[in-house]
Symmetry: C2
Subunit: 341 residues, 2 copies
DNA sequence: AAAAATTACGCAAACGTTTGCGCTACTTTC
DNA sequence: GAAAGTAGCGCAAACGTTTGCGTAATTTTT
């Protein structure tokens, strides 16, 4: 016996008034008398009336729903980001519709389509690694669906985004090593095309330049971020004539793999070789030889900021003929130094 | 200039046919001639027609949306569960509406309400630790919104759920230690009221019994799962007359804290004292002294299974007068032994 | 006391889609 | 060649809500 949800009609019938009156009464409209308002509320309570949101969404062409597209929900970075997004959306009475691209462009496209059809009010996305064509985002413009990107930003003009300035963190990281006396500093970077890789490298270069040292390109190797790729990279770095005494790893996972390799080669961590990296994973505290320092990228803050920007966009009066402005927020990354114990 | 999405009406007008014909044509209905079908599709493509899902949801009283309520998205266990849920839902053309309770009953209630108003087709939930009243779930019955619980199951009759049999894993864990020769085995359990704690203890007791040993209640201490709580627990365990040579920790996090304490006391891990625990966190491979073994609880599989059950429920013909049956799936946990290296 | 203003409500359209039923025109059957 | 069947399409209601406009009743103004 599936229970039929009470509607506004039902209330109207019971009170012998029109549905419009009921609707207005429930919205506390000024043109409805106090007496009828009270009676309507009374009956609404008795019947346990709940507005049918699907009807409202349909009628209002607004769903109070934010679409969120992330590459991988199980990754620590993104799971704390989605946590932030949900918190912020919820605080403003929005809900979150979720999709994960698994770093596949095709999947990402399909999810965008789904979200468009679901009539989400706006989108928050961190793009897939393998997305090279951004037409599916471009297409959203003419439907006036605002998009805010975060962390992984597409190379498109006129977009809103919040990102983390990794370059500055990278600079801090390398400077930290230089100040500790290291002069030959290797880097295990990610794939070349990744923006994340470039930023890391730029920070590295800045630090070298700042300390008036000579840049040796041979010290920069790249890993495909798998364990094997990292092992390869380590092999390259450790078989050079001028062996690095410190290594900047693409992220904590890479660093941990690199550490394992180094230990396999009987190297003493923090003596023969020192590591710094990016991400500042919570669990790495427990790890045998955590990187001496790690660049925090503030996923919670990024997610929160992105959501706030999107909500702002949604509350802005679009019909006003103000020229569009684009929010580009850069959160500064920060080198977190492990308390040496 | 916000672009107006083309509708079925628009197509009808252009072809001088009725909307119903267009609708049927797009659904490949048998009563529409091939010629008109082709023409309709043609125009639909030209206009880039996309059905307005909100209208369909409203009309069909079905949203193809699954509500998911989890305690904490940033926890590894739940983030891999939500990843599984999203994958499975997506595969069946459902989308996921997300909410996190932060282990607060009030928040959980509010989210249930929101999801009901959004007319989600069904709900997947892992209940908050602090939820003691389940009326908000009970209330969903009369709206015929099916709910599948997973991992954290409420104490309610007639529910669907998938859970992990931790007791058996616990039994395996303790048996493992007994077989290794340990005879005094401590346990750092969670708060007493938690079902998770009880199950762990039951497994412990079973193992003890199976090996015809005497149960010493003093060996079971509980932690509030904070670092301090775990340190306290360790203090108790290590200052007994009969010191345990092995300890079963509530989960990997607790184990790692416990290891830190032990090392602080100059104890040699795996010599003076051995740890086993629960969760089998991916990162603990990298950790200095990971627990010798850990009970895997298969969050991905649990999420997947829960989603499949829910989808089954949704596709079942409810009007048929078949008596309801309740799916209670128990996934066996499994002790994963770290390859000693 | 008539005119004007205000209060309190109802009518009906609109949002976009699906679907039961009915209708026409053509084809088949005996 | 009339009856029966079928193919192909249109009408209109329905889903639940909001909202512009109209209007009757009441109050205020002059």
């Amino acid at each position: 016996m599936t229970f039929k949800q009470p509607t506004i009609k039902e209330i109207a019938k019971r009170l012998n008034i029109s549905v419009s009156t009921v609707s207005r009464a429930l919205h506390d409209h000024s043109s409805i008398g106090l007496r009828t308002k009270m009676r309507v509320r009374q009956v609404a309570n008795e019947l346990n009336y709940e507005p049918n949101q699907t009807a409202i969404f349909f009628q209002q062409r607004k769903t109070f729903t934010l679409g969120v597209i992330l590459p991988e929900l199980s990754e620590a970075f993104f799971s704390t980001a989605i946590s932030a997004i949900e918190d912020t959306a919820n605080k403003h009475n929005y809900t979150v519709l979720l999709g994960q691209s698994h770093d596949q462009e095709e999947r990402e496209k399909q999810i965008v389509e789904t979200m468009k059809n679901h009539r989400v009010d706006g989108l928050i996305v961190s793009i897939s690694k393998n997305t090279i064509n951004f037409d599916h985002f471009e297409a959203l413009r003419k439907y006036a669906i605002p998009v805010v990107f975060f962390d992984r930003i597409p190379n498109m003009p006129d977009i809103h985004y919040v990102a983390c300035n990794i370059q500055s963190g990278s600079l801090q990281a390398v400077s930290y090593l230089l100040n500790k006396g290291h002069r030959i500093i290797g880097m295990i970077n990610g794939p070349d095309k990744m923006m994340a890789s470039m930023q890391r490298l730029e920070g590295y270069l800045k630090a070298i330049k700042k300390h008036r040292l000579k840049y040796d390109p041979i010290l920069i190797v790249s890993s495909d971020l798998t364990k094997e790729g990292t092992y390869d990279a380590m092999r390259q770095l450790t078989t050079m004539r001028r062996k690095p005494t410190a290594i900047v790893a693409f992220n904590d996972y890479v660093a941990l793999d690199a550490v394992q390799y180094a230990r396999g080669q009987q190297m003493k961590i923090n003596e023969d070789i020192t590591f710094v990296s990016y991400a500042n994973l919570p669990l790495s505290h427990y790890t045998a030889f955590p990187p001496a320092a790690s660049v925090e990228q503030f996923p919670y803050e990024q997610g929160q900021k992105a959501t706030e920007i999107l909500l702002d966009l949604l509350n802005k009066n679009k019909d006003e003929n103000i020229p569009p402005s684009y929010n580009n927020i850069i959160i500064e990354s920060k080198l977190v130094i492990r308390n040496s114990q």
